[in-house]
C-alpha cells in the first residue's frame, strides 16, 4: 500500500472498509486480514495503514475506541459507522463497474 500511487487511495479505503464490515478490528488485525484475503498480493507496508485509518476516522467513516483485550493491554479498535457502511456500498459498486469495464477491454484485446 505504501508504494502505491495516490490514485490507488480509493481502493485502499475500500479494502479497509470491507475488512471492517466483518466486525471491529485493530490496525494489526486489519493488515493481516487484507494480506490473508489477497494471498499477499496486496502486501503493504503496514505502517502506511495508519494514515489511512486516521483519515477514514476523520471522515467519520470509521470510529475508533480503545478496547480492553483479554490477552493484553487495550488496543485502538476501529468500527465501521453507518456513514462508512454507505460509503462501502457506494465504493464497492463503483469498483465493480470499473473492474467490469477493464475486464471487457482486456477480453476484447485477447479476442483480437
Amino acid at each position: 500500500m505504501g508504494s502505491q500511487s495516490r490514485e490507488a487511495r480509493p481502493q485502499n479505503d475500500l479494502l479497509v472498509l470491507a475488512v471492517l464490515a466483518e466486525g471491529p478490528a485493530h490496525g494489526y488485525a486489519i493488515a493481516q486480514e487484507i494480506n490473508r484475503r489477497t494471498d499477499g498480493l496486496l502486501r503493504m507496508k503496514e505502517g502506511t495503514l495508519y494514515p489511512l485509518l486516521h483519515s477514514l476516522e476523520r471522515q467519520r467513516l470509521v470510529r475508533a475506541t480503545w478496547r480492553e483485550s483479554e490477552r493484553g493491554p487495550a488496543r485502538r479498535t476501529y468500527h465501521l459507522t453507518a456513514k462508512g457502511k454507505r460509503a462501502l456500498s457506494d465504493r464497492t459498486a463503483k469498483w465493480q463497474r470499473f473492474s467490469r469495464a477493464v475486464d471487457a477491454v482486456v477480453r476484447g484485446e485477447a479476442r483480437a
Partner: protein, 243 residues
C-alpha cells in the same frame, strides 16, 4: 539493537497533542509483529528489526499522519490556541455585553426594590452570564478538540440560546411573578404603580436584550470557531459542505 523509540520519534515528533496516543497504537502493532517473528524463530533483535522494516519508512508514515492531524504547529493551534481564541472572544464579548446593559441593571434594581425581589437575586444576575459563557466555552473547546463535525458545530451555535433560555426565562418569570405582588400592593397604594411598571418593563427589555446579545455572541463564537478550525487544515464540516 534496533531503536524502536527513535523510529517512533521520527513518526510522531510532529503530531502535536495526539502523538502519545498514536505512538502507543503504532508501538503495539510493531511489537505484535516482532512477537510473531520471534515465535517463528528469529532472535529478539532481528525480529524487531524486521518488524520495523515491515512497518515502512517513517517519513512516509509521518507525512500521511500529519496530513490528517496537522503538523506540530498547526495541530497545536487547532487543539489549544483555537479554543483559547474562541474563549477570549467570548469573554471579551461578555464584557462588552455587561458594559452595554450595566446601566439598565442599576435602573432595574433600583426600580424593583419597590417590590419583593430577594436582595440576593439582582446582584447574582451578572454572575449567571459567566456561567453561561463558561459552558459555551467548554462546549466549543470539546468540539474543537474532536475536530468538529457539522452537527457538533450547529449544536455549539445553539447551545448558548438553549442555556440562556434555561437560565434566564425562568428568572424572568420569577421577576414578573414577584413584581405582581407589589402590583397588588400598588392597587392599595397607588403611588407605587409608576415605579412598579417601570421596573417590570425594564426587566423585560433587559432580558430580551440579554437573549439577543447571547445570540449575537454565539454567532460570533461559532464563526470564530470555524475560522480557527479551518485556518490551517480542512475541517470535516467544510469537507461535508463541499461534497
Amino acid at each position: 539493537m534496533p531503536d524502536l523509540e527513535a523510529y517512533l520519534d521520527q513518526i510522531c515528533a510532529d503530531l502535536g497533542l495526539r502523538s502519545d496516543e498514536i505512538r502507543l497504537e503504532l508501538r503495539q502493532h510493531i511489537e505484535q509483529t516482532a512477537g510473531k517473528l520471534e515465535a517463528a524463530g528469529h532472535s529478539s533483535d532481528r525480529a524487531l528489526s524486521l518488524a520495523i522494516q515491515e512497518f515502512g519508512p517513517p517519513e512516509e508514515i509521518a507525512a500521511g499522519l500529519a496530513a490528517t492531524h496537522g503538523h506540530g504547529g498547526a495541530a497545536m493551534y487547532r487543539r489549544v490556541i483555537s479554543p483559547a481564541l474562541v474563549g477570549v472572544g467570548i469573554l471579551l464579548g461578555t464584557q462588552v455585553i455587561n458594559l452595554g446593559y450595566s446601566f439598565l441593571h442599576r435602573v432595574r434594581v433600583d426600580a424593583l426594590q419597590v417590590g419583593a425581589v430577594p436582595s440576593w437575586l439582582p446582584p447574582a444576575m451578572p454572575r449567571l452570564d459567566w456561567l453561561v459563557f463558561a459552558g459555551v466555552f467548554l462546549a466549543i473547546s470539546l468540539c474543537a478538540q474532536r475536530g468538529g463535525s457539522r452537527r457538533e458545530c450547529i449544536a455549539v451555535g445553539l447551545a448558548p440560546l438553549l442555556m440562556a433560555s434555561l437560565i434566564y426565562l425562568p428568572l424572568l418569570m420569577l421577576i414578573a411573578g414577584l413584581s405582581a405582588f407589589p402590583v397588588a400592593l400598588g392597587i392599595l397604594f397607588p403611588y407605587n404603580i409608576s415605579l412598579i411598571s417601570l421596573g417590570t418593563t425594564i426587566a423585560v427589555q433587559e432580558y430580551a436584550s440579554d437573549l439577543l446579545s447571547l445570540a449575537a455572541t454565539c454567532l460570533a463564537a461559532t464563526w470564530l470557531y470555524f475560522f480557527a478550525a479551518t485556518r490551517f487544515r480542512e475541517s470535516p464540516f467544510w469537507a461535508a459542505t463541499e461534497s
